[in-house]
Amino acid sequence: MDESLRELYQEMILDHSRHPRHFGTLEHPTHKAEGYNPLCGDKVHVTLVLDADSRVADINFTGKGCAISQASASMMAEMLAGRSLEEAQKLMDGFIHLVKGEDATDLSPDDREHLDVMAGLSEFPMRIKCATLAWHTFSNAIEEGAA
C-alpha cells in the first residue's frame, strides 16, 4: 500500500470531508465570496462576520468537490473562527507553504500540529489547488467581498 496515499487520505481528512464543520451559510455576513476551480468544477462559498476589531467572529462555508477541497475548507473555517485578520493571513501563508512542501516556520507550533494532516499534500502537486481553493476564497471575501 502506497504510504503517501494513506497519509493524504488519513482518517482526519476523510472525517472533515464527510462531516464538514461550519458547513452552511451565515444569514448576515459582513463578507462573502464564491470560489471556483474551472479545471475540476470544485466550488466553495464562504460567508463570514468580521467584528469591530477585525476578528473573524463567525465563518461558514458550503461547497461541492473532492475530499481535499472540502476537508480543507472545513479545517479552515474551524481554525479561522476567532482570529484577527492579521493572524488569519499568517495562518494562510503558513498553510500554503506547508502544502507546497516549503518551510512553514510562520505557523505556530499548535497550528503546525493541527495542520499536520495536510502536509502529505506536498507529494501531490496536482491537488494543491484543491486544498488552497477555500483559503483563496476567504481571502477574496475579505478583499472584495464586503456584503
Binding site: 502506497d2 496515499l5 493524504l8 487520505y9 475540476c40 468544477g41 473532492c66 481535499i68 496536482m126 491537488r127
Partner: protein, 419 residues
C-alpha cells in the same frame, strides 16, 4: 497513403496484434510512480507511435522549408509533402476532392471556422442552431458566441437515460428557423455514437446543413463523408495518434465558395492593394499564414499508421476491451456507469459512490493508471446527469484486458481508502 483493406502483403486483414502495436508506442513502456503506465486517457489525447514522431523529425531534418511560395527545391519538397498530407486526410475521410479539406490547428478551430466563415455572416436574430446536450464545449461555445453576438437561439436536444441521442427530439427541434445542426459523431463522455447518416437525412429533408464534430468519431469509426452526406466534418490530429497543433475540416465544395475568410494573412489572398482585396479559393482561402507544415505531415503519417491495420479488426479489439471493462465494473455495486447506448464506442464514464472523481483519479494515478476526472468539457451533459464530474477511462488501439485489470485493482484500492 496505404489504402485500407487492400494490402496484398498480408499485413492487414489479419487479426489485430495488440502486443505488436504496443511496441510502436515508446511511452507505453515507461513507469509512473514506479508502476507500469496504464494509459486510459486517449479520449483526451492519444499517444503517438514512433513512426509518426520519426516521420516529422526526418521531414524537418531533410526536406523542410516554407510551402507554396517558393521556387527552390526544398520549398517544392515541403509543398509536395504538405499537399500529399491533404490527400491523405481526404482519403481518410472519403472526401471527393482534396480542396474540400482545410487544415486547422485542431478540432476546436475546425468548428470555429464553420461558425465564423459559414454561419456568422448569415445568421439573423432568432435563427436557430440545433445541438445535443452531449456536445463537447468546442461544439457549444462557438454557438453561444452567435447567441451573444447575433441573437441566435440554441435548441438543445436531450439524450435518453442510457446516453443515446433522442433522434425524434432532434428531428422535432429542426424547423424553418434552423440554420445548422451541430452534432457530435461520438460523445467523448458517454461513448455514444450518433446515427449520423440518419441525422443528416432528416436535416437535409428540411433543408438544413449538418456539422459533425468528429474529434472522437474519426478515431473509432471508419468515415465516409460522401456516404454520410454530412456537410461539415471536423477532426483533430492529436486524438488520432497524430501530433498536436493540427486538425482538419471537411467542407462540402458547394459551401466553400460562399464562405467568408476567417483568419486573414499570407496564402489566403489573391491580390492585396491599399484599398481593395480579393481572396484565394479554398482551401488556401481558409489557411492564412504559414500552416502547421510539419504537423500536417505527422497527421498523414498517423493516418497511414492507422490504415496499415485492418480498421475493422482495430474496432473489434477496442470493443472487446470495452465490453470486458464494462462487465468488470458491473461487479462493483458502488460504481455507476454513465452511458450505455447500444453500439457505443470504447469510452467508460462512471461515478463512484461517496468518492469524488479527483480523489479516485489520484489513487489510480499512484497505481500507474491514468484516467480523466472532471467535466470533460461537457458541462451541459454533467447537468443532464446531475453530476459535477465523472471519472473516465477511454480506450485506444493499444489498450489490453490487462489494462482493465489494472484499473479494477486500482478501483478496489480506492474503495479500501475512500469507501
Amino acid at each position: 497513403m496505404t489504402a485500407p483493406f487492400t494490402n496484398i502483403t498480408g499485413k492487414i486483414n489479419r487479426a489485430f496484434d495488440v502486443a505488436a502495436a504496443r511496441a510502436d508506442f515508446p511511452i507505453l513502456s515507461r513507469t509512473v510512480h514506479g508502476k507500469p503506465l496504464v494509459y486510459l486517457d486517449s479520449g483526451a489525447s492519444a499517444q503517438k507511435p514512433r513512426i509518426v514522431l520519426d516521420r516529422m523529425n526526418e521531414f524537418a531534418r531533410t526536406d523542410y522549408a516554407n510551402v507554396h511560395r517558393g521556387v527552390h527545391y526544398l520549398s517544392g519538397a515541403a509543398t509536395d509533402a504538405y499537399e500529399a498530407a491533404r490527400r491523405t486526410v481526404q482519403k481518410f475521410l472519403g472526401a471527393a476532392r482534396e480542396d474540400e479539406i482545410i487544415f486547422t490547428k485542431g478540432g476546436t478551430e475546425a468548428i470555429n471556422l464553420v461558425s465564423y466563415s459559414f454561419l456568422a455572416p448569415k445568421i439573423q436574430l432568432g435563427d436557430e442552431i440545433v445541438l445535443s446536450v452531449m456536445e463537447h464545449h468546442s461544439n457549444i461555445v462557438p454557438w453561444h458566441f452567435l447567441r451573444e453576438r447575433n441573437g441566435a437561439v440554441l435548441r438543445w436536444v436531450d439524450v435518453r437515460d442510457d446516453g443515446s441521442l433522442d433522434i425524434e427530439a432532434l428531428d422535432a427541434a429542426i424547423n424553418s428557423k434552423t440554420k445548422l445542426v451541430a452534432i457530435t459523431h461520438m460523445s467523448n463522455v458517454l461513448g455514444t455514437v450518433t446515427p449520423l447518416k440518419d441525422i443528416v437525412a432528416r436535416a437535409h429533408a428540411k433543408g438544413v446543413p449538418v456539422l459533425a464534430d468528429g474529434a472522437q468519431g474519426a478515431v473509432h469509426e471508419i468515415i465516409d463523408v460522401v456516404d454520410l452526406d454530412v456537410d461539415f466534418y471536423a477532426i483533430t490530429g492529436h486524438k488520432i495518434y497524430g501530433p498536436t497543433g493540427i486538425g482538419a475540416l471537411y467542407a462540402k465544395r458547394a459551401y466553400l465558395k460562399a464562405m467568408r475568410p476567417f483568419n486573414g494573412g499570407g496564402e489566403m489572398i489573391r491580390e492585396v492593394a491599399q484599398d481593395r482585396i480579393t481572396y484565394a479559393d479554398a482551401p488556401a482561402r481558409f489557411e492564412a499564414g504559414t500552416p502547421a507544415i510539419i504537423e500536417a505531415v505527422g497527421l498523414a503519417a498517423a493516418m497511414d499508421y492507422l490504415n496499415g491495420f485492418d480498421r475493422n479488426a482495430v474496432m473489434a479489439h477496442e470493443h472487446d476491451i470495452y465490453d470486458y471493462a464494462r462487465a468488470r465494473v458491473a461487479e462493483l455495486n458502488w460504481l455507476k456507469v454513465i452511458g450505455d447506448a447500444p453500439g457505443k464506442g470504447a469510452i467508460l464514464s462512471f461515478e463512484a459512490e461517496g468518492m469524488h472523481a479527483h480523489d479516485l483519479a489520484t489513487i489510480l494515478d499512484r497505481e500507474g493508471v491514468a484516467v480523466r476526472a472532471g467535466h470533460h468539457c461537457a458541462q451541459p451533459l454533467m447537468e443532464r446527469f446531475g453530476v459535477t464530474s465523472t471519472s473516465r477511462a477511454s480506450f485506444a488501439l493499444y489498450n489490453t484486458r490487462a489494462d482493465v485489470d489494472a484499473l479494477m485493482a486500482g478501483l478496489h484500492k480506492a474503495w479500501e481508502i475512500l469507501g
